[in-house]
């Protein structure tokens, strides 16, 4: 369970990225965060694990307020929050296994991580996670040898290796093609459902958000301007978030693209036969 209370962030330049954001994310809920570029989506999720220092407000994970914790306490609390990134943010020159095990860094002493001597239970768990995301065969490959979709799966496994109580997901599909995007979103939602894991997902793609999210929060200029189910995300709501645009037309365009993709796929399949 995550509570945000009056969360505010003003950057040194004077830009107010977040203005008094209050949200509650209950256990097991997957919440999509949508909004135009610069609305503060990235800042919001980075304020939760304090990769960005909030200027004011409270971040309560369970009953711990993360704002104002000292360095060591913050590190201990960060273990409870898994994070998945837009450009995967894997350590490119390390192997897949090392990347997944790096999710345990907060739990093991330095010498263990330095010598790659992780406890057997951690290694077993890493293999289990790799199997879950379908990358058992790639464990000893270097991360930069994988495709985009595979890398994002490693990113998911790394976040889960932390045994998190909350997932922060920053634009997980922005660098992926439409099909891989859907596969990754499906995997994410399945995993969250399996573990009753709450997640906050920053997402650009509104149809994708509507397809996979249980709840959608719209951010505009650092303020929450929409909070509801995907069905409630109407023309008016989208205009409130993004400004005026012919949303139905865009959605029709999107459907048309899906139909065209399906058609092309069928024809390719026919050719292959």
């Amino acid at each position: 369970m995550l509570f945000l209370e009056g969360l505010t962030k003003t950057y040194k330049t004077g830009d107010a990225a977040l203005r008094d954001v209050s949200l509650t994310v209950p256990k097991g809920q997957i919440m999509g965060l949508i909004g135009p570029s610069g609305a503060g989506k990235s800042t919001l999720i980075r304020c939760i694990n304090r990769l960005v220092e909030p200027s004011g407000g409270k971040v309560l994970l369970g009953d711990v307020d993360l704002v104002g914790l000292g360095k060591a306490d913050l590190r201990r609390q960060r273990r409870r929050i898994g994070m998945i990134f837009q450009e995967y943010a894997l350590v490119e020159r390390l192997t897949v296994m090392e990347n997944v095990l790096s999710g345990r860094l907060g739990y093991v002493p330095f010498w263990r991580s330095f010598l790659r001597k992780y406890p057997p239970a951690d290694i077993q768990r890493a293999y289990q996670l790799l199997d879950r995301v379908g990358l058992m065969e790639q464990a000893d490959k270097r991360a930069d040898a994988l495709s985009g979709g595979q890398r994002q799966r490693v990113g998911i496994a790394r976040a889960l290796a932390q045994d998190p109580e909350l997932l922060l997901v920053d634009e997980p599909t922005a660098s992926l093609d439409p099909k891989t995007s859907r596969q990754i979103m499906r995997l994410l939602t399945e995993i969250c459902a399996e573990r009753g894991l709450p997640a906050i997902v920053n997402i650009h793609d509104v149809p994708l958000a509507q397809q996979f999210m249980q709840r959608i929060v719209g951010l505009r200029a650092g303020r929450v301007v929409f909070d509801g189910t995907p069905e409630q995300l109407t023309h008016e709501a989208l205009t409130a978030i993004y400004g005026a645009e012919d949303w139905n037309e865009m959605r029709r365009g999107d459907e048309e693209q899906t139909r065209a993709e399906a058609d092309a796929r069928d024809r390719m399949a026919a050719l292959a036969r």
Binding site: N49, R76, F85, L94, L105, Y107, S113, R158
Partner: protein
């Protein structure tokens, strides 16, 4: 197509002012060259210059044929020279790594105090040629290999430190952020987020510096720091030109070999 009427057809890369400044700059450069040439030729004793081809031919004649039997006396000094370069590089690397981490903007613990200190160490080391370092050290710790090794190490700190701290500053911040987000400690962020990213640069820089150090250590003997340079000095002083040519050819072969090795190593890791 419709007629375009209100768009200008004139566009120039530089403004008039910029063009004038450019021409002025070139003119000043030519003037400087002419002036320098005058000063240079004023003090030249032309008799020696006219004599130069004959002198060169004379020394060249004495150098050929090289006295190949002298090679047997050179293997030990050559080994010393290689050791001087290698140990000096090793010492330089050991001292340069912490300096680089202190100097890099994204890893320095204190940008206000420690970073300027680290940058000063780098500049100081770089501003003094290893031959000068060796001169000083021969005076301080006496002639011999040790002075050469320390001289090479001191000169290497600046080179390795500068290139390495630039590599550290160019690391991808998102990979570091991801490691921080797992709850890793400072040392763990360093070893998982930063070190893997700078490893290719680190090996490339080290091998490159080792290659340079072999060339530099070959001449350090001239000021008494041991190695093959000592033999070179002795042969020059006794006007044993056929030995000088053997030494120069040996240094050439060593440098070619080390350059080949360093190119191979750098190719293998990148």
């Amino acid at each position: 197509m419709t007629e375009i009427t209100h768009y200008s057809q004139v566009w120039s890369y530089r403004t008039t002012r910029g063009r004038l400044l450019l021409w002025g700059g070139w003119l000043a450069l030519v003037a400087l060259f002419v002036w320098c040439w005058q000063i240079m030729t004023e003090r030249t004793i032309w008799a020696f210059v006219y004599d130069a081809p004959r002198q060169a031919a004379d020394i060249g004649g004495r150098m050929v044929p090289p006295r190949w039997s002298y090679l047997n006396e050179l293997w030990v000094p050559l080994w010393d020279t290689l050791n001087m370069a290698t140990l000096g590089t090793l010492g330089g690397v050991i001292m340069a790594v912490p300096v680089a981490f202190l100097a890099a903007r994204n890893t320095t613990p204190s940008a206000l105090f420690l970073r300027p200190v680290a940058l000063f160490i780098i500049v100081a080391s770089r501003s003094i040629n290893s031959l000068i370092w060796a001169l000083l050290l021969v005076a301080i710790i006496g002639p011999g290999l040790l002075a050469g090794i320390v001289a090479i190490a001191l000169r290497s700190i600046g080179f390795i430190g500068k290139l390495l701290y630039e590599a550290i500053e160019e690391t991808d911040a998102s990979q570091i952020e991801a490691i921080e987000a797992t709850g890793a400690s400072g040392a763990q962020v360093l070893s998982y987020g930063i070190v893997p990213q700078i490893m290719p640069a680190f090996w490339g820089i080290t091998v490159f510096r080792w290659d340079i150090n072999i060339r530099e250590s070959a001449i350090l003997g001239l000021v008494g720091a041991g190695g093959i340079g000592l033999k070179l000095e002795a042969s020059l002083n006794t006007l044993a030109w056929s030995q000088v040519s053997v030494i120069l050819l040996l240094i050439l072969a060593t440098v070619v070999l080390s350059e080949w090795v360093s190119a191979r190593v750098r190719h293998a890791i990148i």
